[in-house]
Every structure is written in structure tokens, then in C-alpha cells.
Amino acid sequence: MRAITANRLTDGHVVYRRADGIWKPSLIEAERFADDRAAEPALDAALRDILTVVGPYLIELDGERPGGRKHVREAIRLKGPTTGTSLLYAQER
């Protein structure tokens, strides 16, 4: 599965795109796409949304969590820095 993420323009915080085009901090609410192809129209719309977000892109999902090659990075984007916690943080979640 795929979802669309970006950083919010005003404060840079991580957001995910809902099916109605609204950006939210929670991944749970994000619209899901079967693959890159299916996400294309929504990604095009996201890329035009320049007053709200910076740099929208697709992430891979593994069930409810970020997956694929960038899973550690995307887990940290979703949950925040892992400093001060277990080294296994990103994997444990």
C-alpha cells in the first residue's frame, strides 16, 4: 500500500493526506493506494497544494506502519526523534 506524506508549510511538521485532500498528522487517517500508479492523481493534486505543504511524496506501507526501504526514516517521521529511548525504537513499534 501507499500513502502521501509531506511537511506542513507553516511549521514543517509531518502530515499525511486524507482522501478529502486535508492534511493531518495522523497516518491512520491517510488515504491508501494500492500502488504508485493508483496514487498518481492524488499525488498530482498534492503537488499543486503549495500553500499548505512542502515536498509531497509517496511512502510505502506495511499494514498500518511505514514499510519498504525507508521504513526506519518514515517511522521516525511519524513518531518523532528516538533520542533518549531504546535503540530498537523504530523497529519495535
Binding site: L9, V54, V72
Partner: protein, 543 residues
């Protein structure tokens, strides 16, 4: 300290106003992100994983109590109550909102600070010995020369669009606490046989993806010739440096391709051509700049004594000799057990400001080891300083020990990272403290970078860790034998990559080998040269 003149002041406040307009234009859609990005970078504003990041210049790592209080205020009101001091002797804020940044810059400008030239292909903030003007072994205070370079390079039209960013470091003593061997240009103040001081000039060093130790261009350059010679180096680089490939654009690649000899000849030829009136630094100008950095007055009070818990150890490890009688250099470790290296809370910054003000002429330094320094502490007040630091949670007695670990922000914050650095440093710090491995490790250096850009200086660590991405997992390469100061060297890879937990154990094992095998007074480099890589390999990989 150097104080802004009217020109500096008006340039900085114009830049704040200009940036305020640029932010508004971006928010209203008048500027696209592609148009805005280079503008925000010119003002030190990056977009990281979770937020914008603001990098604030601390010229040659020197600041006063008033400025430190403003840094604390910014951390408290616009960030999550902390800031991160970096290996470039700057501070980074990890969480400011874009909409607040013009206001932050305005508050910085009020105390003569800014974020200009902290990014982009210009001459960056010049770095120097954090003990400048205080070190017992100093030939001459390098700060007036750093200030000269700052004034000469800020907004210099010829050097605003270099092939790549450019970093200059200056040291005033042979011990070289500024890592001049791994900078684009490294300068060391030396005395010649006639008793005059001048510069030993190095160029072509750097870290990143292709680490190189600088080559020496000159044994002695008369001080007044500094700008002519720097201009000559910059001009040769600007004309011949490769611009079409960012991996080859640094001066280190040019020096390597041309060869040290040919490069030196070109620089010398250019220097002969351009030297003269415009670029000469008159003795009066040098004296004018030097006057901004007066030597602290001696103190006749006897050094303070204390039997407070931890005082003796802290005095032995974190306090260094000062060239002025009755003064001392205090290193404030930002490396508590399992802490995030270089992080300081707003309250801690305020505490340091107060202590510096009360007991050290108000002056503070930032080190490339990500610590703070009160350079001119009055020795009589060392017990009071220790007490104040203890209350602020800043009295960790490990300056220069193994647990004084240097790290970049890594994958917890950085957009370019492959792997995390800070949590590895935290786990390692806990292991070193808890297993007693920190004892007797003076001058052993451990540094961690989250990718090959090497912001965490891993190449020049005795024991370095580099995070790489192996099929989506964090893997660490361990290197041994790097040296930062005085005879820089690049570390060599010990063996196959390690998981985060293995990396922590591997470094701890290497520290253990060093402690067991070292002979009296040996540094890590000596021990490694004597015993070779095998004992370390065995300890890490069990072969």
C-alpha cells in the same frame, strides 16, 4: 569581543526585513518552494524530517552572556526548550516554525547575531581554537584574524557563488584545537627564527565523502599578507574548481587533481600578481582588530578549594591552564551520561550565561567537540562555578574522555541521513559510564556521523562510526586511527558493518582493548601503531 559597526548592523537588519518579506511571499503563494528554498537557505533555514531547522552563526565560536541569554530565550519560546551545539561551533534549533523565524532573526540581530553564511556555496563561519586568547601554549590570539576573515569574506561578491561551500579554520597554538588539517584552508600562527609571527598555510583538506588531509602551501606567511594570500587561493579555486559535479567541487579535489606542487605554484603566482596595497593588512588595522580582544586581567586571589562531591575530579579533567595568572579555562561538558551530545536546555544556557558573567568576564565559547567553555574563569571562583554547574546538571567531569562523544543529528532529525547517530551515542555513553570504561581515556576521541557527509567528524576520530543504509536497515562502519588535531589523519575501516547494538558493543570493546594495551602516556594513535588492527578486530569480530 568584536562589536558590530554601523555597516554590519544595517546589513543584518536589512537582511531580516528582506527575509520577513520572502516568508510572507512564500505563505501567500507569490513564491514557489523552488524559488523560496535558496532564499531560506541563505538565512540558515533548512527543512528537516519533522520541522524547519535554523542554524545560527556563532562567529569563531565566541559569544557573550547577553547573546547566550537570547539563545536560551529562543529555545524556550520558539523551540522545545533546547538547542543543539554543533561541531562547526554554531547552534541549531530543531523545531522553529517558519512563521516565527523572521521574529527570531530580529531578536538575534538585537544582540549582533544572525544566520547568514551558515549555508550555501560561500565562505562559511570561520572556526578556531575554543581556548583562543586563553591557552597557555598560544603563539598569538587567532580571533582578530578570524574577525578579519569574517569582515573580508562576508558578502564578498567574488566569493558568494563558489563551486562549493568553503571552510576556513585558524589556530593560534601548535596543539591545533581547530582541526586545520581537514578544512578547505587551515591557518596556524607560528613564530619564525626572527621572532616574528605569521601563518603556516594549509589548503585542500576536508571530510565528507572524500576525506583528505590538507597540504601545506607555506611554512611562513607574514601576517599582513593574509588577505592577499587567501584571495590568491580562492581565485585559483574559483577559476579552476569543478562546478558540474558537487562531489568533485571542493578544493580538496582540485588540489588532488592538480597535485600539491602545481596547485602551490599557481597560488604563489597568483599571489605575486595581486599582492599590494588593496589587499595588504596594515599594522594599524591589525592592532585595531586585536583591541577588540583584550587579554583578561590577572587575578591575585588564590585558587579556590572545595571538598564538594566530584569537585576534585572535575577540577582535574575539565579545567585547563590559562596564560594569565589567577585565571583558568573551564570546559562545560554537554555530554552527561546517556545525553544527546551537544544539546543544552534553555535553563542550562541561562545558567552558563550567569556563571560566565559572574566569574569569567561574561565570555563563552562553543567547541567543535560540542561543549561550552568559560575561557577566562577566575580561579578563585572555581568551586562556585562547579557548584553552579552541578545545580544546572552541567558538571559532568568527562571533557576529552571517551564519553565526550561527538555526533551529528543523524536520522532522528536530518533529511540526508542513512542512520541514527544520537541514540547510538547515548547507548554508548551509558555503557562507558556504567562499565567504568571512561577512566584514563584522556584524549581518546569517538565521533559518529549518520551519513557520508561526515558532519559528526567520524573520519578524524580515533574510533569513528559511520551510518550507512543497507537494504533499508541501519548499518554502521567502524573506523580506527583518525586524528583531528595536530597531524590530522583519516581513520581506516576495521571490518564488516554492524547493527546499532553491535556498533555500541564494538566501540566499547575497542575502548577496552586500548585501555588494556596502552603503555604509559600513549595516545590511541600510538597504541594502534604499535599493536596494529588485529587485537581490535579480534575484540569486535571475535576472529
Amino acid at each position: 569581543m568584536y562589536r558590530y559597526d554601523e555597516i554590519d548592523r544595517s546589513i543584518v537588519s536589512e537582511r531580516v526585513e528582506e527575509f520577513r518579506e520572502q516568508v510572507s511571499a512564500r505563505l501567500s503563494g507569490a513564491l514557489t518552494e523552488d524559488q523560496f528554498k535558496p532564499l531560506r537557505l541563505m538565512n540558515g533555514v533548512y527543512l528537516q524530517l519533522h520541522a524547519y531547522m535554523l542554524r545560527v552563526a556563532i562567529p569563531y565560536g565566541t559569544l557573550d552572556a547577553r547573546q547566550m541569554r537570547v539563545l536560551a530565550h529562543i529555545a524556550r519560546h520558539y523551540d522545545k526548550d533546547y538547542g543543539h551545539f554543533t561541531t562547526r561551533q554554531n547552534i541549531q534549533y530543531n523545531w522553529p516554525a517558519l512563521v516565527d523565524i523572521p521574529e527570531i532573526l530580529e531578536q538575534l540581530a538585537d544582540v549582533e547575531m544572525h544566520a547568514i553564511q551558515t549555508s550555501g556555496n560561500c565562505i562559511r563561519n570561520t572556526t578556531t581554537d575554543p581556548f583562543a586568547g586563553a591557552a597557555l601554549d598560544e603563539v598569538e590570539d587567532p580571533r582578530p584574524w578570524c574577525e578579519l576573515i569574517r569582515q573580508w569574506s562576508t558578502f564578498h561578491p567574488e566569493f558568494t557563488f563558489l563551486p562549493r561551500k568553503f571552510k576556513i579554520a585558524v589556530t593560534g597554538s601548535d596543539a591545533d584545537r581547530a582541526a586545520i588539517g581537514v578544512h578547505d584552508i587551515g591557518l596556524k600562527l607560528v613564530r619564525n627564527d626572527a621572532g616574528e609571527t605569521g601563518f603556516e598555510v594549509h589548503a585542500g583538506g576536508g571530510q565528507g565523502r572524500t576525506p583528505r588531509v590538507a597540504v601545506k602551501l607555506r611554512d611562513f606567511l607574514p601576517k599582513g599578507e593574509l588577505l592577499a594570500y587567501l584571495t590568491a587561493i580562492m581565485r585559483v579555486y574559483n577559476l579552476a574548481g569543478q562546478r558540474d559535479n558537487i562531489y568533485k567541487a571542493r578544493i580538496k579535489i582540485l588540489v588532488e587533481t592538480m597535485g600539491a606542487e602545481a596547485f602551490t605554484q599557481d597560488v604563489e603566482a597568483m599571489y605575486r600578481q595581486i599582492r599590494g596595497r588593496d589587499l595588504a593588512v596594515p599594522a594599524e588595522e591589525a592592532a585595531r582588530l586585536a583591541a577588540f580582544f583584550p587579554e583578561p586581567s590577572p587575578s591575585t586571589l588564590p585558587e579556590g578549594v572545595s571538598d564538594a562531591p566530584g569537585y576534585a575530579r572535575w577540577r582535574a579533567i575539565n579545567v585547563k591552564p590559562h596564560k594569565v595568572p589567577g585565571r583558568a579555562i573551564v570546559v562545560i561538558s554537554l555530554k552527561p551520561r546517556a545525553g544527546a551530545p551537544g544539546d543544552a536546555t534553555a535553563d542550562q544556557m541561562d545558567a552558563v550565561a550567569s556563571l560566565a558573567e559572574r566569574y569569567g568576564d561574561g565570555e563563552i565559547r562553543v567547541t567543535k567537540e560540542q561543549n561550552l567553555v568559560i575561557p577566562h574563569a577566575i580561579a578563585a571562583h572555581l568551586p562556585a562555578i562547579h557548584e553552579g554547574l552541578r545545580e544546572a546538571g552541567l558538571a559532568t567531569a568527562n571533557a576529552g574522555l571517551a564519553s565526550d562523544i561527538v555526533t551529528c543529528p543523524g536520522l532522528d532529525y536530518c533529511n540526508l541521513a542513512n542512520a541514527r547517530s544520537i541514540p547510538v551515542a547515548q547507548a554508548l555513553s551509558a555503557a562507558l559510564f556504567d562499565r567504568g570504561l571512561d577512566e584514563d581515556t584522556q584524549d581518546l576521541t569517538i565521533k559518529i556521523s549518520g551519513c557520508i557527509n561526515a558532519c559528526g567528524h567520524h573520519h578524524i576520530a580515533n574510533i569513528g562510526l559511520l551510518g550507512v543504509d543497507k537494504k533499508g536497515e541501519e548499518v554502521y562502519q567502524l573506523t580506527l586511527g583518525g586524528v583531528a588535531d595536530n597531524g590530522a589523519a583519516i581513520g581506516k575501516i576495521l571490518g564488516p558493518g554492524l547493527t546499532p547494538d553491535e556498533a555500541v558493543e564494538a566501540v566499547a570493546a575497542c575502548v577496552g582493548v586500548f585501555r588494556r594495551k596502552r603503555k604509559d602516556g600513549e595516545t590511541f594513535t600510538h597504541t594502534l601503531a604499535r599493536i596494529g588492527f588485529e587485537p581490535f578486530k579480534e575484540a569486535v569480530y571475535g576472529q
